[in-house]
């Protein structure tokens, strides 16, 4: 199982946390880096991911009823897992295609890391504008350890 990246979106649809576990873009042919720069930045990726997840969630709700929840989708290259909390916090994880459901993993991240280290942190703001309060040492460390433990 390989985890590629992880994103958190708040209820204002802003990406407040993103992390990638991909090795730095490597070039088998040793082409200059200017070519790789053509790929959209991670903030563009986050926006695309949010748009996708939001559309699919609405589509699923329309078809499956209001109690239905979008869980994951898979392409030939990767798999995206989605978990939404009651407070409209959305956790998204990209993994390889062979991975089984990561819904409980995302739920664990929410309970054991988000609630413990971000929500219960007295210095953390209520709204995490620009990711304020999320990028604290305990949360980042805990998340990294948790994901590396899975891989």
């Amino acid at each position: 199982m390989v985890v590629y990246s992880f994103y958190i979106f708040d209820r204002h649809t802003e990406c407040i946390y993103s992390k990638s576990w991909l090795p730095p873009a490597h070039d088998p042919t040793g082409a200059p880096n200017s070519v790789t720069a053509a790929r959209p930045s991670s903030s563009d990726d986050a926006k695309l991911i949010f748009g996708t997840v939001f559309s699919l969630r609405n589509m699923v709700r329309k078809l499956g009823g209001d109690d239905d929840a979008f869980v994951s989708y898979r392409t030939a290259q990767y798999k995206l897992h989605f978990y939404e909390t009651a407070s409209n916090l959305r956790l998204v994880m990209l993994t390889d295609t062979a991975t089984l459901s990561m819904r409980n993993v995302l739920h664990q991240i929410y309970i054991n890391l988000w609630v413990e280290y971000v929500v219960k942190n007295p210095l953390s703001p209520v709204e995490h504008k620009g990711g304020a309060g999320v990028r604290n040492e305990l949360f980042e460390l805990g998340l990294d350890q948790f994901i590396r433990g899975l891989m």
Partner: protein
């Protein structure tokens, strides 16, 4: 109150609906096989859904985190054109968009043909061999829609034979 229907839901493995989207994102076929699996939505909503899905599908193909897209394409092109002929050109697999979507209540399988037509099959989460069903549906499409001399490409599918064959095939699966 909901328990009996829920039990039925688990014991019967069913295919709920089929949607066909043309390469421009327009809805050309839409049929429900089993009531109760999915919410009833209007034809207009189905059209919106088809368009939305078409867009999302294109985005999901671009989101590939492994990124072979610009670099390797160009690199393999320059390295192979000098040596071997253009026929030996090694191209990476084109990125595929969404193939399977899972939710708590249903699973959606998407099959994209080489010509860009999308078949969306909505089935129960426990339904097995959806790949095979999809393959058969595609066979029926090629046999009874594409070989119909009166069918115009990219236009809504109104073929009696296709309707009948598809109906009996899915009924067979749903009653198994």
């Amino acid at each position: 109150m909901r328990l009996p229907s829920f039990e039925l839901y688990i014991t019967t493995r069913t295919v709920f609906a089929l949607i066909i989207i043309n390469k421009a994102g327009g809805l050309i076929y839409n049929r429900t096989f089993h009531d109760g699996g999915l919410n009833k939505i209007s034809t207009n909503d189905y059209l919106v859904l088809a368009g939305t899905f078409h867009g999302v599908h294109a985005i999901t193909a671009r989101l590939n985190p492994l990124q072979p897209r610009t670099t390797t394409n160009r690199a393999s092109l320059s390295s192979t054109t000098t040596g071997a002929g253009a026929g030996d050109l090694v191209r990476p697999e084109p990125p595929s968009g969404l193939e399977v979507l899972e939710t708590e209540n249903f699973r959606m399988q998407c099959f994209t043909t080489l010509t860009g037509i999308k078949f969306l099959l909505f089935a129960d989460t426990t339904q097995a061999n959806v790949d095979l069903t999809m393959r058969r549906v595609y066979d029926l499409y090629t046999d009874y829609v594409m070989k119909n001399p009166f069918y115009q490409l990219e236009m809504p599918v109104r073929c009696d034979m296709f309707d009948r064959r598809l109906g009996s095939y899915i009924r067979e699966i749903n009653n198994r």
